[in-house]
């Protein structure tokens, strides 16, 4: 018996310790003052902390939740050829039926064509293709449109700089997006919905890039000193190694306004933090404030640590700085970030403003495995251009050998391969792609520019941050008061046993919160309600045991015996009763979404934990009490 008790005690102690460890980040986050928050952000410590803390749902943080659906009528209409009035009529009918029937658009469309007795190949696919073949083709188009839409959305949303966005496919036609913290809904939707723009632009020669950066650097240095930069003479600088210096850089935290000596108002969508802390190389900062924001790593010419991206963007956006950028060029950021030694960077390119080729000339792009000597077994992207595009591309590639050509989707660079040969027939191949995933993405990006992926909003929910904070506060308050009342009641009604039950209840809540934090479950407002409910119902398991013990005591059993039989008799009841509530929680999780899932999760976890604490923890305490001396009376 003693061994078993020891094991149980150790288990409980370990669990409690784990709970404290798991919750420590959340506690820390809650108690940070704004300045402390900034210092952490500078050291790159804030993000990991946020990730380990309890995730708040949109209804508690504020933000947007959008469900998009591929606009199949629009898509099929756009890829159809030889459209005539009959076509329009059919599409009208089908669109109408869409609102009434629940079947998929494709099914309805095919039915309609059959009723009208018109072959599908009149408008899609090759001549003489069977209906079945065109059906397959259309289905593929729909699937690819989903991929393109996902890629486009991912690209766009990256630009927002939202903390933890969610982009998810729902079934085969819908995409779910969650943007926590975004407050300007109209702008968000506008930006998301815009048609994608794909361009191919030549990357400027590295020398030109360096010169430009140095000029900007001088300008910023002068601005800091309060000197006017409008009249500045553009002095050429010799030290081209400034950026390459990687000697003991003391990273210092500097604020953006310190950089400019002024306040700036951020008018775009990004959550404008008033003052972001930046990571600058202290050795360079005084003389080269702009260059200090940049890094040269891993074969990339200009890389910017993610913490500095916003500041660099602001600097580059200033009118007085833009003078120093060659008039035919513009800075563009890479869509994806890359990691070096656990720090995230984003690459910056200087490309020609006028695109060499517009994406609409791309007719197709596919990923294959290379089979010539250079790219044996590695993924390559093959793409094809339409006649006009071929001519342009032939000219461009012929005239710019060994230069880099950036593939830019919605102003973000996907990749910038080097032009190795002239491509006269519009069939290009991109090699040297590190991995299959990147290859697939590049191919999709190329197709995005070529083909439409029209989306429709079918569901949208927005919660403003003020409502979110209010909800959190009311939730906290309700939980605290609820807890207080139950604790009080238990002590009054069950005396010492009640106290023991309260300890179990406290542990309940601790473990529940810890599990939410550890496993990354999202806490929503109904989730808080679930916690409050758990407080009320967790009591139940204890009550079942205590009532049994009381009954046993009445029949004259000893304290020891009453406790034992109380627990063993109540066990079955507790199990049966809680399993059914658990079943409803599971059903809720399956059929629910977002906030309701949050509720199901807290309810389910709460129930399981309350069974554990009621049967194991309180038992332990009772056992502890009765093992010392023989108790004649039990305060219950």
């Amino acid at each position: 018996m003693k061994g078993k008790n020891l094991f149980k005690t150790m288990l409980v102690v370990v669990l409690v310790l784990w709970a404290f460890v798991a919750l420590w980040p959340t506690y820390k986050l809650q108690s940070l003052s704004p300045t402390e928050q900034k210092t952490l952000e500078a050291e790159g410590e804030l993000m990991p902390l946020l990730e380990k803390g309890i995730r708040l749902g949109l209804d508690l943080q504020g933000g947007m939740y959008l469900t998009y659906e591929i606009d199949l009528p629009e898509l099929f209409s756009q890829i159809a050829e030889n459209k005539d009035p009959i076509f329009e009529e059919i599409m009208e009918n089908v669109r109408g039926s869409l609102n009434v029937k629940t079947e998929d658009f494709l099914t309805i469309l095919i039915e309609e064509f059959k009723t009208q007795d018109i072959p599908l190949h009149r408008y899609w696919g090759e001549r003489r293709d069977s209906d079945a073949k065109v059906e397959d083709f259309l289905e593929d188009q729909a699937k690819d449109a989903m991929d393109r839409a996902m890629q486009k959305l991912r690209n766009r949303i990256d630009q927002f700089g939202v903390a933890e966005p969610t982009i998810q496919k729902i079934g085969s036609r819908r995409i779910l997006i969650e943007l926590p913290g975004v407050t300007n809904q109209e702008r968000a939707k506008e930006l998301i919905g815009k048609t994608a723009l794909l361009e191919f632009s030549l990357v400027k020669d590295p020398r030109v890039v360096m010169e430009t950066i140095e000029k900007i650097d001088q300008a910023v240095a002068r601005a800091r000193k309060g000197e006017s930069i409008n009249e500045m003479e553009l002095l050429p600088k010799d030290t081209t190694e400034a950026v390459a210096e990687q000697k003991e850089s003391q990273d210092k935290a500097v604020s953006v306004s310190e950089l400019f000596g002024e306040e700036e108002i951020d008018a775009d969508i990004e959550q404008a933090e008033a003052d972001t802390a930046l990571l600058v190389d202290e050795n360079l900062f005084e003389e080269n404030p702009f260059i200090a924001l940049l890094r040269n790593t891993q074969g990339r010419d200009v890389a910017v640590p993610v913490e500095n991206v916003r500041a660099v963007k602001r600097i580059l956006a200033r009118e007085d700085i833009q003078r120093f950028i060659p008039s035919d060029a513009v800075f563009r950021w890479n869509a994806e970030t890359f990691k070096v030694e656990n720090k995230d960077y984003r690459e910056l390119f200087l490309v020609k403003k006028e695109p060499a080729l517009l994406g609409k000339h791309v007719t197709d792009a596919r990923v294959t495995i290379g089979n010539d000597i250079k790219s044996q077994g590695r993924p390559v992207v093959n793409f094809a251009l339409d006649p006009k595009g071929r001519r342009i591309f032939s000219r461009v590639t012929g005239a710019n050998l060994d230069k880099r050509l950036a593939i830019i989707l919605d102003s973000m660079v996907t990749s910038a391969p080097v032009i190795q040969t002239k491509i006269p027939d519009g069939r290009g191949q991109i090699t040297g792609i590190p991995g299959m995933d990147e290859a697939k993405m590049t191919a999709i990006v190329l197709r995005v520019g070529a083909l439409p992926a029209p989306l429709r909003v079918i569901e949208e929910r927005t919660v403003g941050p003020s409502l979110g904070t209010d909800s959190v506060n009311s939730g906290k308050m309700a939980a605290l008061i609820g807890f207080g009342i139950v604790v009080l009641f238990m002590i009054i009604y069950y005396r010492t046993a009640g106290l023991i039950a309260n300890v179990a209840l406290l542990m309940n809540l601790l473990l529940l919160m810890a599990m939410l934090a550890q496993f990354g479950f999202t806490l929503t407002l109904p989730g808080i309600a679930g916690i409050v409910l758990t407080i009320g119902m967790a009591v139940d398991a204890n009550v079942l045991v205590f009532e049994r013990i009381r009954e046993e005591l009445k029949t004259g059993k000893t304290v020891r015996a009453s406790i034992d039989s109380g627990y063993s008799r109540a066990f079955k009841t507790i199990l049966d009763a809680n399993i059914t509530t658990l079943m409803t929680a599971v059903v809720l999780y399956q059929f629910g979404s977002g906030p309701i899932r949050g509720f199901a999760v807290t309810l389910a976890i709460g129930i399981v934990i309350s069974m554990f604490t009621a049967l194991v923890v309180t038992r332990m305490i009772f056992d502890g009490m009765t093992s010392r001396k023989v108790m004649k009376q039990l305060s219950i």
Binding site: V457, G464, G482, A529, M537, R550, M583, T584, A600
Partner: protein, 306 residues
């Protein structure tokens, strides 16, 4: 402290009265099904919550908006006096976002001096509304089905039937009262109903468990006596748990904020009705069934060796 020392309330004997009360309330519930106040989750449409600088008159807003030809618009208070909830029905030709923008511009024109802020905004397309309706019904049915199987397995079919009837009873009555007070039914409230199902079942099983135990202990007694004794023995626990859960949900209702008010109200009614049904519906039904179908009034369980 103990509420009931050795209770011996004649629950079974009083069951006819309980049946009539239940009957009336369930009828209210059934009628309410035809008058449900369905939210946009199920009907599609747009709901906007605006927070004004100061207290705003709903009539003023309504006048401003009715004039603007927007179809069916409903305006309600949301939380405090400054907050207003505006419903716009799904329009055929116009997208929901456009409607929202229109509504806001009308308000801005009508009340140019008052500043407001949009604090919540929900739009649900008609197709999704229909899907959500279907999945809500499916969820409830699925849960009930699971429960039927589980109880049939752990206890006996009689008990399962009694439990399911009690659950329907609970959901209908709660739905009735909920609609009577004009609360709106959206996804959250469906979650509340499912929780009530779970809670009521929890309660019912505790009593059933005791009945099962007593069937073995008191073989010679009449079924009605056994059931009555079981209920009485559980009374203390039932009351304590119901009271604590009720208090906790009451606090949620009062302090939890307007977003979950409907949810907590449903829970509130559900806790009361759920407890009531375990005593006055689920248990007596076992008796009724047995006396009509079981011959001597004793259950199979009593004859089995297990």
């Amino acid at each position: 402290m103990q509420f009931f020392k050795t209770p011996d309330i004649k629950f079974i004997q009083k069951r006819r009265i309980a049946y009539s009360i239940s009957g009336v309330l369930v009828l209210v519930g059934i009628i309410s099904i035809f008058n449900l106040n369905l939210g946009i989750d199920f009907m599609g449409g747009t709901s906007i919550v605006l927070q004004f600088e100061k207290s705003i008159s709903i009539t003023e807003l309504r006048n401003a908006l009715t004039g603007a030809d927007m179809g069916n618009i409903e305006i309600k208070r949301f939380g405090s006096k400054n907050e207003v909830l505006i419903y716009v029905e799904q329009q055929k030709e116009v997208s929901a976002q456009e409607m929202a923008v229109r509504v806001e511009s009308v308000i801005r024109d009508a009340l140019p001096d008052i500043n407001y802020q949009r604090i919540k905004f929900d739009t649900v397309g008609p197709k999704i509304g229909e899907e959500l309706r279907k999945s809500a019904v499916l969820a409830v049915l699925f849960a009930l089905f699971l429960i039927l199987i589980y109880i049939g397995w752990r206890f006996e079919l009689v008990f399962a039937v009694g439990a399911i009837i009690a659950l329907f009873h609970d959901v209908l009555i709660t739905l009735g009262i909920f609609t009577l007070f004009n609360f709106e039914l959206s996804l959250k409230e469906i979650a509340a109903f499912l929780t009530i199902v779970g809670y009521s079942l929890n309660d019912t099983i505790v009593v059933y468990d005791r009945i099962r135990e007593n069937l073995k202990l008191l073989r010679s007694e009449d079924l009605s006596v056994i059931i009555n004794r079981s209920i009485n023995q559980c009374l203390s626990r039932t009351v304590v748990t119901s009271v604590t859960t009720f208090i906790v949900v009451l606090i949620l209702f009062l302090i939890g904020g307007s977003v979950i008010r409907g949810f907590s109200f449903a829970m509130l009614i559900g806790v009361i009705v759920g407890t009531y049904s375990s005593i006055f519906v689920a248990s007596p039904l076992v008796l009724e069934w047995q006396s009509r179908h079981g011959g001597k009034g004793k259950l199979r369980m009593m004859k089995r060796k297990k």
